[in-house]
């Protein structure tokens, strides 16, 4: 790819980029949100046409999506052969299709049952199916978009073992990712994007993680607020909690979150986190008891679906959820009060919006998240539930969100952090609970938390 340029309206997403992917090489593409990685990947894949520049491809390009593009209610073999179905007369040759899938799976060391219905498979298995679907087309180039976002540490290693083997066999691989450690562990080279340009290209051997991170943000890394010493006081008590939504369930968990501490729930996605958070947020019926959780601020899992109304303004979104108690004057909304609150959040949380009247949909993901966090913490809640508060946002925004959570804790709030990111868990937590299949598999104080052991517990080990 040479001289690639792409603009959306007045925003230039990719600004004159040269990128070369070589067969046999794993290249990582890193950068903050909005740096242009996604646009560049879309252009490489052929889903977007660049405004200027040329793309030359030798062979086909395969793409493994972050949120898999699978047909959940169909079988594995159907997902893999669709578009290239083997035929017998006018019908699909089912036997040949399954045989082809089995052979493909065996060849790549990715064992799957061709007859399984995709929605019944665990996340790591779904990713295998997604990868196999792309491999079936024998791509010369393979693009991986945040491939390990939903995997446990052991699954990450297994996944990359396959990718490394593919690269050694001659495939060119591009990994778009936030996880710098994986870059160092598995990639051969790293390209760093900032503001639409590739600002650095490293050989990943010999480069330090900090140096990549600094290049990404274009300066020193923002620091997370320091942990002050607090005297924790009893606040929230959860006893024998059971709740379920869909196939996500917590089964009999008991724990305490004290004022002045952050309790982090570590675990792989899908082990009951959603049900736990929803029960604590008061939006899911539960059995057992939750005490002391009434004055709560909630940072929900999905900012666009549960946190914000994208087509509303910043101000209107600040009023949302507060319309009954805080933002009311008689029967009417307290417009002035809401406006003040919106301005305060925009300032304190560095929400970069053209104005408080801007539609939330026009903000970047990081700025949307800062708004959600700002609203949740606005009234200094005694209890904070934060579900993946830094998911998919850039380093600067993440540091700010983590700082505000830490400050809330320092000021005496009880904070429950649910995160799939062990780095975040270790950075923030005073205590760590490991959630596996809806049960607490282990509890650790900050001082004696063992990363390897927690990783094993997350995967169901001991």
């Amino acid at each position: 790819m040479r001289g690639i340029r792409k603009a959306f309206g007045a925003v230039t997403a990719v600004d004159g980029v040269d990128l070369e992917l070589r067969g046999g090489e794993i290249q990582a593409l890193v950068g903050e949100n909005g740096a242009g990685k996604s646009t560049l990947a879309a252009i490489a894949f052929g889903a977007l046409r660049p405004d200027a520049g040329t793309v030359e491809r030798r062979g086909t390009v395969g793409l493994v999506h972050q949120h898999f593009e699978l047909i959940e209610r169909m079988r594995v073999w159907e997902n893999i052969v669709i578009g290239r179905e083997p035929r017998r007369g006018v019908r699909i040759d089912t036997d040949a299709a399954k045989r082809a899938v089995r052979e493909l799976a065996a060849r790549n060391g990715l064992d799957v049952d061709p007859d399984a219905i995709v929605e019944s498979l665990p996340v790591a298995m779904k990713q295998r199916v997604e990868l196999l679907r792309e491999l079936e087309r024998r791509p010369a180039v393979l693009l991986l978009d945040e491939p390990t976002a939903a995997l446990a540490p052991a699954e990450v290693a297994a996944f990359f073992a396959t990718i490394v083997a593919l690269a050694r066999a001659g495939t060119a691989v591009l990994v778009v990712t936030h996880k710098l450690q994986e870059v160092l562990d598995y990639a051969d080279t790293v390209s760093v994007m900032r503001r639409g340009k590739i600002v650095a290209h490293f050989a990943s051997r010999g480069v330090a993680l900090d140096e990549i991170a600094r290049t990404m943000v274009g300066g020193e890394l923002p620091k997370v607020a320091a942990r002050a010493s607090t005297a924790p006081v009893p606040r929230v008590r959860v006893a024998h909690l059971r709740a379920e939504s869909g196939d996500n369930a917590v089964r009999d968990v008991s724990f305490e979150v004290r004022g002045g501490e952050i309790v982090a729930v570590a675990g792989v996605e899908g082990n009951g986190q959603t049900s736990l958070a929803d029960a604590l947020a008061g939006v899911l019926p539960y059995e057992g008891s939750i005490e002391g959780a009434d004055a709560r601020g909630v940072i929900p899992q999905d900012r666009l679906r549960e946190g914000l109304v994208p087509s509303w303004s910043v101000t209107e979104n600040v009023a949302l959820g507060r319309q009954h108690a805080r933002a009311r004057r008689g029967a009417l909304l307290d417009r002035r009060g809401v406006l003040q609150a919106a301005r305060a959040i925009v300032e304190r949380y560095d929400v970069r919006a053209p104005s408080v009247d801007a539609r939330v949909a026009t903000l970047s993901g990081g700025n949307q998240q800062k708004l959600v966090v700002g609203r949740a913490l606005l009234d200094d809640p005694a209890f904070v539930v934060a579900y993946q508060p830094t998911r998919g946002i850039d380093v600067g925004a993440a540091a700010l969100v983590q700082s505000r959570l830490m400050e809330a804790r320092n000021a005496g709030a009880a904070v429950l952090l649910i995160s799939f990111d062990l780095d975040e868990v270790f950075a923030l937590a005073d205590r760590i609970l490991v959630l596996y299949r809806g049960r607490i598999a282990g509890t650790f104080a900050r001082e004696d938390a063992d990363r390897a052991k927690i990783g094993r517990l997350m995967a169901g080990g001991t």
Binding site: E69, I71, E78, I92
Partner: protein, 293 residues
Amino acid sequence: MTIAGVIGAFVVLLAIKTTPIAFAALGGTLGERSGVINIGLEGMMTAGAFAAVVASGATGVPWLGAVAGVVAGAAFGALLGVLATRVRVDQIVAGTGINLFALGSAAFLLVLVYGQPGASKTVPSLGNGSWLLVALAFAVALALHVFLVATPAGLRLRACGENPSAVAAAGIDPLRIRLLAVTAGGALAGLGGAYLSIGELNLYSDGMIAGRGFIALAAVIFGRWTPLGAMGAALFFGFFEALQFVLQGSSIPSEAMQMLPYVAAIVALVAFRGRARAPAADGIPYERNIEEF
């Protein structure tokens, strides 16, 4: 009349009443499996019924009328398809618009062509030939079943109704599949309308579809989004239409009896709710989205 005779007469009536609903329900099933909810079935039946009468009257060949019905239904199906895929109008709004448009333009053209409002003149009907259409309805149900379950195109169509992005990821254009599916669905609904106007009767009159398109829509759901299910559901609703017809003239007020098929539709939908899941992407416009990267 002997009991066998009564039963025989009722079966004939059942077949007649089932056929138009069956065609429309099969058309609706095809659309929904590809991800487009076809609220416009009623309008497509109307277009088919009217076009069939005009063509049959003009040529004197009723089978050309049936062909015209298919073409008119397909045209309205394609209109919904374009609106729902390329223009991305809300499918419910587009379908409702088609219903009103078809009904209104038929009433207007009725005056234009026949110089009288309300009903057309009588035209040559299919007569006993309409039994071929009855048989065809069953054949189409079977053919669609095989098509959806066993052919590559059927697999792709079903995939479009579940996750069009995954279909696009496989290098196939989901919008094209949806457009074709809704167009074919419209053709079937148009044939259902033609059966009513020149198969069962020999004229077009305003409002003659009388909600059968909506009953067909219920049959799609009741039939669990499968062709054979839709056929079964059409038989169920056809049974109540036939029953209503037979019981007219009994001591029960005829207005109450006329409610029967519609009441049956509501009761059936409530009784069988939640037994099957609609296609996951049913009714959701597909849009290529680079944010997914």
